[in-house]
C-alpha cells in the first residue's frame, strides 16, 4: 500500500475528546503525524474578560471536565494573587484534599479509557464504578458531580458536611484494594506487556526540549513534580513521594499513574487528619463588597470598569493530573479580569506527538495516545 493520510477523528472512539489526528502511513507504519485541534474551542479566555471573577470559575470547570476542580484551583489561586486576597488555611487544605481526590478520579478515568482501547473491557466498568464513589463525595460538599463551581475568590463556597472525613476514609480504603485489582488485570497479563512495552518512547532529554510535563516526563526518569519543586496549597506540609519510572514507554506511564494514585491516598489521609483537627472559616474575611456579589451589574461599554481596586498580576502553577498547568491573570482594577491566559499540559504533550508516534504501527496509536492521557477541553479552551 502506498503512503496516504488517514484521519483518526474527529469522531473516533479512540480519541477521547474531539480532535483529529492526521496520520501519514505507509502500510501499517506511521511516517508523520499532524494533530488538528480546535474542535472544542469555546473562547473561554475571551469570555472570561467579560465575566466577574467568581463567574469565571464556572468556565474553569469546563476546561478540563475530568479534572474540573484542579482547573478551578489554578484560576482561583492566580485570581487571589492578582486581587491581593489571602484565603484562610482551612480553605487551602480543603482545596488540597479536593485536588488529590480529583487526581485519583482523573487517573481512574484515564485507566478506564486506556484499557478499553487495548481491548480489556471489564476494567473500564470497574473504574467507572470506583470513580462514582469519588463523585458521590464531591456531590456531598460541592453539590455537583461534574461542574462544581465550588471555589470562590477568597476561599470556597461552603465547608465540608459533618461526617465527611469518615466516609472519605472508607472510600480511600476501598480504593486501595481496587488499585491492587487493577494492577492484577494489567501487569500480570502477558498480552498487556506485548502491547505496551517499548511503545511511545520519549526519553527525558526530548521531554525537556519539547516542554512535555506530568506523568510523561516522570516516566522517563526525571523527577519533576510541581508539588515538590514549587509547593502550592499546603503540599510542603504533607509527606508523600513522587512517582518516577524508568523506560519512558507506555508501561512506565501506567506504573507512574498507578503509583501517583497510591501517593494521593497517602496525602488524603493526612488531609483528613488535619481537617478534623482544625475547624475554621473557609472564606476570607473582609472581602470587597463587589466580590461578594457575583451578579453585580455589568456595563455594556468597554471592558474596564473602574472600581479603584489595586491593579495586579497573578500567576499560579499547578501540578494538574495531566502535568504542569499555568495561569496568568492581568487585573486592571476592574470587576472583570483584563486577560486570563491558561496553559494546559496536554497542549504541549500533544504538540510533541511527532516524536513519540512516528515509527510505530497504526495499531499502536491507541495505547500510546491513551498513555498520554488526552483531555481536549483543556487543550482547546
Amino acid at each position: 500500500m502506498s503512503e496516504m493520510w488517514i484521519n483518526m477523528g474527529p469522531q473516533h472512539p479512540m480519541t477521547h475528546g474531539l480532535w483529529n489526528l492526521r496520520v501519514r502511513v505507509d502500510g501499517e507504519v506511521v511516517l508523520d503525524v499532524d494533530p488538528e485541534m480546535g474542535y472544542l474551542h469555546r473562547g473561554i479566555e475571551k469570555i472570561s474578560e467579560d465575566r466577574h471573577y467568581n463567574e469565571v470559575v464556572t468556565l474553569m470547570d469546563r476546561t478540563c471536565y475530568v479534572a474540573g476542580l484542579a482547573w478551578e484551583h489554578l484560576f482561583i489561586t492566580a485570581a487571589e494573587r492578582a486581587l491581593h486576597i489571602e484565603p484562610p488555611e482551612r480553605a487551602v487544605w480543603i482545596r488540597m484534599m479536593t485536588e488529590e481526590f480529583q487526581r485519583i478520579g482523573s487517573h481512574i478515568m484515564w485507566y478506564a479509557a486506556f484499557v478499553q482501547d487495548i481491548g480489556l473491557m471489564s476494567p473500564f466498568l470497574y473504574g467507572m464504578r470506583d470513580r462514582d464513589l469519588i463523585l458521590d463525595l464531591f456531590q456531598s460538599y460541592t453539590g455537583a458531580r461534574l461542574t462544581y463551581e465550588y471555589n470562590r475568590v477568597g476561599g470556597t463556597r461552603n465547608d465540608l458536611p459533618s461526617g465527611f472525613t469518615d466516609r472519605a476514609r472508607k472510600v480511600c480504603d476501598w480504593l486501595e484494594d481496587r488499585f491492587r485489582e487493577y494492577d492484577t488485570l494489567c501487569l500480570a497479563s502477558d498480552i498487556f506487556h506485548k502491547r505496551c512495552d517499548g511503545l511511545g518512547r520519549l526519553k527525558a532529554s526530548d521531554c525537556v526540549r519539547l516542554g512535555v510535563t506530568g506523568p510523561m516526563i516522570r516516566s522517563a526518569g526525571l523527577k519533576r513534580d510541581l508539588r515538590k519543586d514549587r509547593p502550592y496549597h499546603a503540599y510542603d506540609q504533607v509527606q508523600f513521594d513522587v512517582a518516577v519510572a524508568e523506560g519512558a514507554d507506555v508501561t512506565a506511564r501506567y506504573l507512574v499513574r498507578m503509583e501517583e494514585m497510591r501517593q494521593s491516598l497517602r496525602i488524603l489521609r493526612q488531609c483528613f487528619d488535619w481537617l478534623d483537627r482544625h475547624p475554621g472559616p473557609v472564606v476570607a474575611e473582609n472581602l470587597p463588597r463587589w466580590l461578594g456579589a457575583p451578579y453585580a451589574p455589568v456595563g455594556r461599554e468597554g471592558y474596564l470598569l473602574k472600581r479603584n481596586y489595586p491593579k495586579g498580576v497573578g500567576f499560579s502553577a499547578v501540578e494538574e493530573p495531566h502535568g504542569e498547568a499555568l495561569a496568568y491573570i492581568v487585573n486592571e482594577g476592574g470587576e472583570h479580569p483584563y486577560r486570563v491566559k491558561l496553559k494546559s499540559p496536554v497542549f504541549t504533550n500533544i504538540s510533541a506527538a511527532r516524536h513519540y508516534l512516528v515509527g510505530y504501527r497504526v495499531a499502536d496509536i491507541p495505547p500510546i495516545m491513551g498513555s498520554v492521557d488526552v483531555c481536549i477541553g483543556e487543550v482547546d479552551r
Binding site: G38, D229, T348
Partner: protein
C-alpha cells in the same frame, strides 16, 4: 529576602551581559522575577537564559493586547533552581513582529501559533505559523480588544471551507 536578592543578582548578571536591551528586571512574587526586554534582543536573551542560567523549559507564551501596543509574555522554568522566570516585551500594535523562540525551545511551536492566531503577533522564522485552535482561513484575531463579543448584525464573516 531571598527572592529579592536572587532577582537583584539576575538583574546585574543580565545587565552586564546585555548592556542595551534589558529595560527592567522587576520582582514578581513567587518567581525569580520579570525581565522586560527589547524585542530585538530576543534570541540572544533566550539563548543566554537557556544555556547559562539553566532555564531549559518554556512553560507558555502569552499575548496581551494593550490597544496601542501588544505584550508577549514568556514563562520559563529551571529544573536546577526550581523557579519560574517571566520575560515580557512590548511590541507596537502596527508592527507586532518578534523572532520565534522555536530555535531555542522547540516547545514554543504551538504556543506561538496560538498567540499569533489570537492576538495577531507575527513570529519570524517560525516553521509552520498557521491556525491551531481556530478554523483555517479565519480572518479575525479574537483576543484583540477591537474584536467585540457582541457583534452588530450586519457583519459578514467569511471562513474558507477546507
Amino acid at each position: 529576602m531571598d527572592e529579592k536578592a536572587a532577582t537583584e543578582r539576575l538583574r546585574s548578571q543580565l545587565s552586564t551581559r546585555f548592556p542595551a536591551g534589558i529595560l527592567a528586571v522587576e520582582p514578581f512574587p513567587g518567581t525569580l522575577g520579570r525581565v522586560r526586554f527589547d524585542p530585538a534582543l530576543a534570541l540572544d536573551l533566550f539563548r543566554e537564559l537557556r544555556d547559562v542560567h539553566g532555564f531549559t523549559h518554556l512553560g507558555m507564551v502569552a499575548g496581551i493586547d494593550w490597544v496601542q501596543e501588544r505584550e508577549v509574555v514568556y514563562t520559563l522554568w529551571s529544573d536546577e533552581r526550581r523557579v519560574y522566570l517571566f520575560l515580557s516585551t512590548l511590541l507596537p500594535a502596527d508592527r507586532a513582529r518578534i523572532e520565534s523562540a522555536t530555535a531555542i525551545w522547540p516547545s514554543a511551536d504551538w504556543h506561538e501559533r496560538e498567540t499569533w492566531e489570537l492576538v495577531d503577533i507575527q513570529f519570524d522564522h517560525h516553521p509552520d505559523l498557521r491556525h491551531l485552535l481556530l478554523p483555517t482561513g479565519y480572518q479575525f484575531h479574537p483576543l484583540l480588544r477591537s474584536f467585540k463579543l457582541h457583534e452588530p448584525e450586519d457583519l459578514e464573516v467569511k471562513v474558507r471551507n477546507v
